[in-house]
Symmetry: C2
Subunit: 254 residues, 2 copies
């Protein structure tokens, strides 16, 4: 069996502790290449950079692992990795480990998950990992045995077509984690608030803040699994069509 | 019946011709408030601004229509509009008219559509409009009667819950447009290429470019409808779960 090629990216930047942990786990399974943002790109969603050019610089951060810091978004990193660095599609794309959870509708805001979705759009088996701890020195050690298992499963059997995985880890030690749950995306959203301040000239500016609120809690969601101490896995695709709504719109045609 | 409140945004900026056309059409149906980016934000997807503060400035561009230019992304505009400008949810959110089509997986990259999706997440009836012409002086006149009809239908009957509409217009005169098609999102993607150049110091930089390629063309997609001269409408939701894949992943649990 030829050596597997594993592309790793994230949205917290090439300097984050989470990506270092993921590289450490992944490199026992093949040749790892890293292309990750040169600065934090949290909340960048599926943004791409089209109005200014991108920079890509070789960095030596991970003990001999071929690595690049990119000036763009996580999705830019995936595109540059495939079309300029690797010039081929890797066997596996891993994104993360994100500092902070990406359950529910956060999948849309998340650079980490958007990179995995971009991988799926390119036909690459892709997984995004997130830990429910925003701290820069978060402890990722409990994630490791789960990630190993998921890499082996994916390299062995692949994933459903056009589908990546959104994996969230509870912030618990390994002995407290109850297991894995295959879930649907919860319907929750940010009840946003803005912190309005005045600058030195008396002009207002706004910081986005808010609280995460669940709407109509339902069974077997990622949010519920995480809250109950499970690792959540949501099979995530990029077809946003609400097929059930197609029929009810037919009278718009006439 | 009380006057309807209509929020308008886009991703081409408050100065684009497309938003001016949309305001003109919408203002006959109620009170219009505009909160749109102060500069082009194409390709920003569902990005939000969390690492620096946002500015919001009143502008007088649209003949007495209350309007604001925002320093952030289209999704930031929606959030600021609801929580700081209106301090309530509007009856309708309209985004566009985008200069350029947003069919297929472009819905994920599109700031125009991400604003509409954000509206749906907030429980607001939301529609994103795009014209298949990237020119800054594109002719939006053929869109107008269709948009009028869609505004009336939506204010009368609402939309499916958690679902916005992705509307694309072919670049044709009104007499050439064959009608409306209710569609699913096509499975196409950008076969990306990068234009690699050297700066004055001999260091490389990259411009994202590429061609849009359809994968496994299927019946009744937005891409096909547009190509055949129809206005496409895709009911678009924000649950990315691939429910069919949940069962096949169950052996990961054991």
């Amino acid at each position: 069996m030829s050596e597997k090629l594993i592309l790793i990216t994230n949205d917290d930047s090439v300097n984050a502790k989470g990506i270092r942990s993921l590289i450490q786990t992944a490199k026992q399974f093949g040749r790892v290449v890293v292309v990750a943002p040169d600065k934090a790109q949290s909340g960048m969603g599926h943004a791409i950079t089209i109005n200014h050019p991108l920079r890509l610089n070789r960095v030596d951060l991970f003990d001999g692992v071929e690595s690049y810091a990119c000036s763009g978004t996580p999705v830019d990193c995936v595109k540059l990795a495939i079309y300029e660095v690797l010039k081929c599609k890797p066997d596996l794309l891993l994104s993360g480990i994100n500092h902070g959870e990406n359950t529910s509708t956060n999948v849309l805001y998340s650079g980490t998950m958007s990179a995995a979705i971009e991988g799926a759009m390119e036909g690459i088996h892709s997984i995004g990992f997130s830990l429910a701890d925003y701290a820069s020195d978060a402890d990722f050690s409990a994630c490791q045995p789960f990630i190993e298992k998921m890499i082996i499963k994916t390299l062995d059997s692949g994933l459903a077509s056009n589908t990546c995985l959104n994996v969230n880890f509870p912030n618990l030690s390994i002995d407290k984690i109850k297991g894995i749950r295959i879930c649907s995306q919860a319907h929750a959203f940010w009840a946003d608030r803005f912190d309005k301040r005045l600058d030195q000239f008396g002009n207002p500016y706004f910081w986005l803040t808010g609280e995460f609120a669940e709407v109509n809690p339902k069974e077997n969601t990622d949010l519920e699994a995480l809250k109950n101490g499970y690792v959540s896995i949501v099979p995530t695709h990029f077809d946003l069509t609400n097929y059930q709504a197609i029929q009810t719109l037919q009278d718009w045609v006439i």
